[in-house]
Symmetry: D2
Subunit: 101 residues, 4 copies
């Protein structure tokens, strides 16, 4: 399944870059396929492995933040793999043109 | 922590009531504090118990749906409990009036 | 359509109650049907009137916050009205029992 | 502000590619900066122009779908521009390495 998540530390000021870097360090080291975008990170895998990774990231941010909001969106589709690459390509193919990514 | 979730089966028609009833049956039997609203269900508990419940609901919907989108929002705040009741009451107290719930 | 929204001021500390009260004051005065829950506020109306209200709430929070995250979920279904009451009742009817709200 | 949105037609089957292509055609023609990812589209602009574009996309999907769920996440930060490029670069700079995008 595809999972996008975004972790927002509350009460640590309005600059969140250091916390996001900590999260991405964990994601990048996890070995799961991922893609970072300006509003979140998309990962691909089974429920248990993706949720374990998000739990680890959330807990890491809670170490330095009193309050944290984490938003998770799951798109689970039977019998489909490598959707982290295929979904965008499929849209481009239908439109017959390359899109901004 | 407080967790709101919403499970949307895709490809089973536009009436989702039967699937939502199945989900709420699982939530109501779980023993976790919960509140149903027109757009989702809010539960309160630790990461592992809340995520285990949402996983169970998501998997139940996947049994009858080829594709499912699940949206999860987490609000985790150190040292606070019974926020499922306290958050709304706190807003009402500040405004000095009862709000629609 | 049904619209749930949640406004999170960033960088104003971890206690957000005063900002939420300001938002609910605007919602309560708007005249639109609404229901407050521990994770957000659900309103019902057409696109332009619901989005105008959320814009007003978001702009009010931005007056005292350098950064604000606003999450909006829309459930738009043709030919259905008063869903802010009907959706939950429909689930209860299917289960044959009253649920926590 | 940065805005990510995702439009999910309900009741049109589990393959949503044709609907997503229609949405991306509108986004690509809008002239607003955007980035497509496997779970949504991020756009950058002021409230009125970004919401006008999402409204147009949502209404286009509603033409062929009886029910549509649209999820919108806004990150609004005073005095910052070109964040659609800068946010990811800032994380990479902190980590001293290139990330998957």
């Amino acid at each position: 399944m595809l999972v996008e998540f975004s972790i927002i530390p509350i009460g640590v000021g309005s600059s969140l870059g250091a916390h996001l870097a900590e999260v991405l360090k964990i994601v990048d080291a996890s070995g799961l396929p991922y893609k970072l975008n300006p509003m979140g990170t998309v990962i691909e895998g089974e429920w248990d492995e993706t949720m374990k990774l998000i739990r680890k990231c959330h807990k890491a941010v809670m170490k330095t933040s009193e309050r944290t909001v984490t938003i998770i969106s799951i798109d689970d589709r039977k019998g489909k793999t490598n959707r982290i690459e295929a979904k965008v390509k499929s849209v481009e193919k239908r439109l017959g043109k390359s899109l901004k990514k």
